[in-house]
């Protein structure tokens, strides 16, 4: 049997996801060792894990370098990769929101300036409302943009809202709920169907509702 390649997002979410995989019998002890390896294999259950930047997981899966992976719905909505979305993992839950400084009042006579990492999501959201916007694409610390007056609002993921509050921003609109998804490469699902179907079934049993 071939190895099943699994891409996990680096960080807290990825560790939570790995715990779930371990619980369903797809563990890989090497991953717990503190070293600089990037790829971890378990010969017994034929799995190979690797950590990647969360936004890259979808690319690894779409191109078949990973057969399956776990990625946030935000990334799937933004990049629309051609892959299967097999499960809602019900973790990493947050919301895609529009937020603005508490003094903000929308003036529909003017083009709205929007700072975001999620250009496509923001564009689709405002296109639906017929609102004219100007997008400013940023790669991090989006909250700064309206504080410095660079934009009027931001479109970003909000988990607890603490960062927003500390920067005097508040959610003015909720766009869509986000959570982590189990995704699979389409061709892998044909040739490694048994392994992938088994993982999906077992994960389904441990996902907290």
């Amino acid at each position: 049997m071939d190895y099943l390649n699994i891409a996990l997002p680096k960080g807290r979410l990825g560790e939570k996801v790995y715990d779930m995989f371990e619980r369903i019998g797809y563990g890989c002890p090497a991953i717990r060792e503190k070293n600089r390896s990037l790829i971890f294999e378990n010969h017994e259950n034929k799995v190979r894990y690797f950590w990647s930047k969360p936004s890259d997981v979808a690319i690894y899966v779409e191109r078949g370098a990973a057969d399956i992976g776990v990625v946030g719905k935000d990334i799937l909505l933004e990049y629309e990769p051609d892959i299967y979305e097999l499960l809602d993992m019900n973790i990493g839950k947050c919301r895609m929101c529009v937020a603005a400084p508490d003094i903000f009042r929308d003036n529909p006579e003017k083009t709205l300036r929007v700072a975001t990492k999620f250009v496509n999501i923001a564009r689709a959201h405002y296109a639906k409302k017929g609102r004219d916007i100007e997008i400013c694409k940023l790669n991090g610390s989006i909250e700064i943009a309206p504080i410095l007056g660079m934009t009027d609002v931001i479109v970003d993921i909000v988990e607890t809202g603490t960062t927003l509050k500390e920067n005097n921003l508040e959610v003015i609109e909720s766009i869509i709920p986000i959570s982590a998804r189990l995704v699979a490469n389409k061709a892998s699902t044909k040739f490694k169907n048994e392994q992938i179907a088994d993982i999906r079934k077992r994960l389904q049993e441990v996902i907290e509702k």
Binding site: G64, Y84, E85, L86, A187, F191
Partner: protein
Amino acid sequence: MGTYNYNDTTLYNLRMLYEQMGYKRFKMSKFEEYDLYLEYKKFLSTENIITFTDLHGKLFALKPDITLSIAKNAKPGEAQKLYYKENVYRASRETKEYKEITQLGLEYIGDIDAYTLGEVVLLAARSLKAVSSNYVLDISHMGFVSALLDTADLSDSRKEKLIGFLGKKDTHELLSSCEHYGVEPETAQRIAMLSEIYGDFESTYPQIRELAVTPAMVDAAEELKALYDFLKASGEGEHINLDFSIVNDMSYYNGVIYRGYVESVPCSVLSGGRYDNLLKKLGKDCQAIGFAVYVDILELYAKYEKEYDVDVLLCYDKGVSPVKISEKATEFTAQGKSVKVLNTVPEGLKYKQLVTITEEGE
């Protein structure tokens, strides 16, 4: 692994496969009037089309697709079996750049009965087999999918949304959208089940049969079964899977649709189906089915790992007579060896044997 075998002769073999079954090559121009694509935009998998104005001021496009041009020229009442090998021009979704893509395809236009359907799908299966012994041909039926969605009584745009989730096997979103649209739980469950069905034909067919609650669904299921029996009798049964996540636009495709995969290529390499609805829209009273092979993808994943660039490097000194050099080269090519003739030894060239000729001889 290691069964993937795409090389210089593959394209030729595929063409021979089609010619042997009486399909004639259809050669066409690179351009088409832009209006055609504007009108049938949703049939295309791309939205970006390269356009230009011709010398009379008419707007033309570099073809992004061949099927549409073939369908446009179809003559009802006359069965046509043809294949094509053409370049098409599409924008890459990722890089947003135009790409020239070689497409090999086969089309049948005329009355379709169980035999013709079987012949075309069998040729699709054999095309995959020519590339890899480990291949999968997934089949689905748009008639089945749309009949199932008809039981939910939804608007076309909502149906399209559900079809999108079906294509991603996203059972979770399917169920929550059905709930949001007010679809009865029983019907919603049935739609969700359709997205979960995957596997070899014989073990999944009973599930499909169970889902079939309307006469249209029963007909579609039976058509799939008859097709499978035909393919099995032709020796390709074990490679056929049922998969309802292959979905195409309902307004163009109606009956059986299919998609092919070969091991070690991470995306589909063949796709096709029955598109009577497109012909109807073009005002033609006939039926059609076909498929396209994605030659660019096959080439991209082909492994050319030659140990040597050339068998013999034949190096000659200045002053050696050209006739003598040529005679020496011919000596090697006659033995079936490849030979590169140069007057210096280049860096980085990998050769099996080095032969130098000077004025005195070898």
